[in-house]
C-alpha cells in the first residue's frame, strides 16, 4: 500500500490545521456561510437533509485494516455507529457535528486519510478497479497511476476552480470494473505490441442529467505522458468549458458540443504545443510508486484447496458464496472475496462500526492487511488463501456479512436518496430494500443470473441508474414519488446508456414492474447462459414495453 512520505504527512496535517482555523472563524462569525461553504466543500463537508455529511476519500478504493478500524472508531465516537460506502469508493458519515470535524480530520490524518477534494469543482478522488492488484485477468495494477494523478491534482493551482467537478477513473484489466467510460476522463491500462505500458484514453463520459458515454481520443498514450496528456485535456476544458450554466459545465457537454474529433484535435494540439518536460513521468518515479503497490508476499499454494472442496460438497450456502462472491486471483491458491454490503432487506453500502472492525480483523488475519471498497458499494478482501475461505466465510456470516449475492439481482446500487440527501426527489433505499426482499439471495436470484439494478433518487444519478442493466430513477410528480425505469444500460467495457421504458411507476407498483421486467427476460432468454444484458441487446425494448404497459396490472397507465 502507498505510505505517506514526509511531504504527504505535512501537507495533510497543514490542511487539517487550516480547516480547524476556518471552522473556528466560521463559528466565531468571522466567516459568513457564503465565505465558508467553498472551504467546507473542499474538505468533503456538506450540509444534508438532517445534518452535516462528511465524505471521506478511500483513494482508488484501497484501505488497510488500521484505516478501516479508524473509520469504525470515528463512527462510534463522532457519528451514530455506522458509515455509508458510496459509488465513488468513498465513505460518508451522515451525522457529524461541524465542531467535531477538525478532530475527525486529525484522526483520519493519523492513519494517512483525508477528505480533500471529495467535493467542489476540482479533480475529485481518483477511482479504480476494486480488484486492482489482485485480479487474475489484470494487465497492470492501475493504482500507481491513480496515486500519481492524486498527488499531481491535490491543490493543483490551475485546476482547483474548474467549470465543474472532474472525475477520473483508471482500470487495469480487460474487463472494465471501474465504469471508466462514464467518467470525465477514463483511463484503460493497455500494453502495445512491444509490451510497453500505456493508456487508452476516454473523455467526456458522465451520468447525471445528460448521460454520455466517453469518447476514445487516444488508443495508446505512453505511460510517461500520463500527466502531460491529462494536463492538456484539463487545459482545453478549463478554457472552453462553459461557466455560464452549471448544468452545461461538465466536460461531457464540451465534448458533445464541440464533437469528439475536434476535442481530440484540440487536446493533441495543446499536448504538442507546450513544453511538458516537467510533466513527463520519470521511469524511476513510476518505479518508486509502483513499489508501494507490490503484491504482498503470498506463500505458494496448491491451486485447488481440498478443505474448500470438502466444505463445498456438503454446505450449499458456502457453495453459493463461492459461486457469487469469490473471484480468481493472480496468484495460484488465492482468491478475491467480495463482502456484500447488500444483506437481504438491508441498506446498500451501510456498515456498522462493529462490522467495519470485523472486516478489518479479517483483512489483518487473512488478506495481507488489505481491503478494497468497490463502486458497487461492497467491500473486498483482495488476497485470501483458498484454504482460509471456510474460516473467512464463517466469520463473515457471524457478523451478517456473508450474503451470497455479489453480481446478482439483489446486489443493488442505491444512492442515499430522499432519506438523507438534500438534492433527492424520491427515496432510493426503500425501493432497494423491497426489491431485495422480493428477489432474495436464493435459488430464484441464482436462476436469474448476473443482473445489475442501480437506483438513483434524482437526476444527478449518484446511483448510476443510466448504466444499470435495469435502472430506476426516483422523481417527484405532483407531490408523489414516481420511478422511471431504464433498460440495457451497462458500465463495463461495452458501456451503454439505458433506454427509458415509458411512463414511470408509483412507489407501490415499481417492484411489480421490475418483477415484470425480470420475468420477461426469463421468458425471452435463449437459455440460462444468456444474461439479462445480452438478452436485452438481442431482443430490444419491445417485449419489455409490451409486458410493462400492455399486459401488466402493475402499470400506472
Amino acid at each position: 500500500m502507498y505510505r505517506y512520505d514526509e511531504f504527504d504527512a505535512a501537507f495533510v496535517a497543514a490542511r487539517v490545521a487550516q480547516f480547524r482555523d476556518q471552522v473556528a472563524r466560521r463559528v466565531s462569525g468571522e466567516l459568513t456561510e457564503e465565505q465558508f461553504r467553498p472551504h467546507r466543500l473542499m474538505n468533503g463537508l456538506y450540509l444534508q437533509l438532517h445534518a452535516y455529511m462528511l465524505r471521506i476519500a478511500a483513494p482508488y478504493g484501497t484501505l488497510s485494516s488500521r484505516q478501516m478500524r479508524k473509520l469504525a472508531d470515528i463512527a462510534r465516537k463522532y457519528d451514530r455507529g455506522y458509515g455509508h460506502f458510496t459509488t465513488r469508493q468513498n465513505l460518508q458519515f451522515n451525522w457529524p457535528a461541524l465542531k467535531d470535524v477538525p478532530d475527525i480530520l486529525a484522526e483520519l490524518a493519523s492513519v494517512e486519510m483525508h477528505a480533500i477534494q471529495t467535493s467542489g469543482n476540482c479533480i475529485r478522488n481518483v477511482t479504480a478497479d476494486h480488484f486492482a492488484g489482485a485480479a487474475a485477468d489484470e494487465i497492470v495494477d492501475p493504482r500507481p497511476y491513480a496515486e500519481i494523478v492524486r498527488q499531481w491534482s491535490s491543490l493543483h493551482p490551475e485546476f482547483s476552480f474548474l467549470p465543474r467537478k472532474f472525475k477520473i477513473a483508471v482500470n487495469g484489466g480487460p474487463r472494465d470494473r471501474a465504469v471508466i467510460q462514464a467518467h470525465d476522463i477514463g483511463l484503460q491500462v493497455v500494453r502495445d505490441e512491444r509490451g510497453e505500458i500505456g493508456f487508452t484514453v476516454y473523455v467526456g463520459g458522465g451520468l447525471g442529467r445528460t448521460p454520455m458515454i466517453g469518447h476514445k481520443i487516444r488508443d495508446f498514450l505512453p505511460e510517461a505522458d500520463l500527466l502531460a496528456y491529462i494536463d492538456a485535456i484539463l487545459r482545453v476544458y478549463n478554457l472552453e468549458g462553459r461557466r455560464d450554466n452549471k448544468f452545461k459545465a461538465r466536460i461531457k457537454i464540451l465534448v458533445h458540443e464541440k464533437g469528439a474529433a475536434a476535442m481530440r484535435e484540440a487536446v493533441e494540439a495543446e499536448f504538442a504545443a507546450h513544453n511538458r518536460q516537467g510533466l513527463t513521468l520519470p521511469a524511476e518515479e513510476i518505479a518508486r510508486i509502483n513499489a508501494y503497490f507490490a503484491l504482498p508476499p503470498l506463500e505458494p499454494k496448491k491451486p485447488v484447496s481440498d478443505r474448500v472442496e470438502r466444505r463445498r460438497a456438503k454446505d450449499k450456502k458456502f457453495s453459493n458464496f463461492l459461486r457469487c462472491n469469490v473471484a480468481p486471483h493472480k496468484a495460484p491458491g488465492y482468491a478475491i472475496v467480495t463482502i456484500s454490503l447488500k444483506p437481504i432487506g438491508g441498506v446498500p453500502g451501510d456498515a456498522s462500526a462493529d462490522q467495519m472492525d470485523a472486516v478489518a480483523d479479517l483483512a489483518e488475519d487473512y488478506s495481507s492487511d488489505e481491503l478494497r471498497v468497490s463502486h458497487e458499494q461492497n467491500l473486498v478482501l483482495p488476497h485470501v488463501a483458498l484454504d482460509d475461505l471456510p474460516a473467512v466465510y464463517d466469520r463473515l456470516a457471524s457478523v451478517g456479512l456473508a450474503t451470497p449475492n455479489a453480481g446478482l439481482v439483489t446486489d443493488i446500487i442505491a444512492c442515499p436518496g430522499l432519506d438523507y440527501c438534500a438534492l433527492a426527489t424520491a427515496r432510493s433505499i426503500p425501493i432497494a430494500q423491497r426489491l431485495s426482499e422480493h428477489f432474495g439471495d436464493g435459488a430464484r436470484a441464482r436462476e436469474i443470473g448476473p443482473l445489475k439494478i442501480k437506483i438513483s433518487g434524482c437526476i444527478n444519478a449518484c446511483g448510476h441508474h443510466h448504466v444499470g442493466h435495469i435502472g430506476i430513477l426516483g422523481l417527484e410528480r405532483a407531490g408523489e414519488e414516481t420511478y422511471q425505469i431504464t433498460l440495457g444500460g451497462s458500465g463495463d467495457e461495452t458501456a451503454s446508456i439505458g433506454q427509458i421504458t415509458g411512463p414511470g411507476f408509483s412507489s407501490e407498483n415499481v417492484v411489480d414492474a421490475i418483477e415484470t421486467v425480470v420475468a420477461t427476460y426469463m421468458g425471452q432468454r435463449r437459455d440460462a447462459s444468456e444474461d439479462f444484458l445480452s438478452t436485452y441487446r438481442r431482443v430490444g425494448m419491445a417485449p419489455f414495453k409490451e409486458a410493462l404497459y400492455e399486459r401488466s396490472a402493475g402499470s400506472d397507465i
Binding site: 466560521r26 463559528v27 466565531s28 462569525g29 456561510e33 450540509l47 444534508q48 437533509l49 438532517h50 445534518a51 452535516y52 451514530r80 451525522w95 457529524p96 457535528a97 461541524l98 465542531k99 432487506g345 441498506v347 430522499l418 432519506d419 438523507y420 433527492a424 427515496r427 433505499i429 426503500p430 425501493i431 430494500q433 423491497r434 426482499e437 417527484e476 407531490g479 414519488e481 412507489s507
Partner: protein, 111 residues
C-alpha cells in the same frame, strides 16, 4: 396556508424549528404554526437575524397541513427532514419523540 420556519444549527447541523417566542427548538411539536404570509415573513426576518448572528444556517419556510388533527409538513422531503430517515426509525427526531405525529401509514412500508 400554514407554515413553519426551519433551519440547521450551525455548530452541529441539527434541524431546528422556530418556536412561538422566536427561539429555536429541535422538537417539531414546539414549532410555531404561522397562519399567513405576513406571519411567515416576520418569522423569516427574525430567522435572518439569527443567521447573521451565526446561530443557524439556511432558514426557510415549510408548508404544513393538518393530518388527523396534527400539523405535519406537506412535502415528503420536509416530512422526512422533520422526522429522520424512513429506513432507520432508530435515528433522527423520530427516535427521540420529536417528529411530527403521523397517524397514517408511512408512504412505503418499512417492514
Amino acid at each position: 396556508m400554514s407554515e413553519i420556519v426551519t433551519a440547521n444549527r450551525l455548530i452541529d447541523g441539527i434541524v431546528l424549528f422556530q418556536d412561538s417566542a422566536g427561539g429555536w427548538v429541535e422538537d417539531f411539536a414546539r414549532a410555531a404554526i404561522l397562519p399567513d404570509a405576513a406571519a411567515t415573513q416576520a418569522a423569516l426576518a427574525l430567522a435572518k437575524q439569527d443567521e447573521a448572528r451565526d446561530l443557524i444556517v439556511e432558514p426557510y419556510a415549510v408548508v404544513v397541513e393538518l393530518r388527523n388533527g396534527h400539523f405535519a409538513p406537506k412535502a415528503l422531503r420536509e416530512l422526512i427532514r422533520a422526522s429522520g430517515p424512513t429506513i432507520r426509525p432508530d435515528l433522527g427526531k423520530q427516535a427521540q419523540g420529536q417528529a411530527p405525529a403521523l397517524l397514517e401509514k408511512p408512504h412505503v412500508s418499512l417492514r
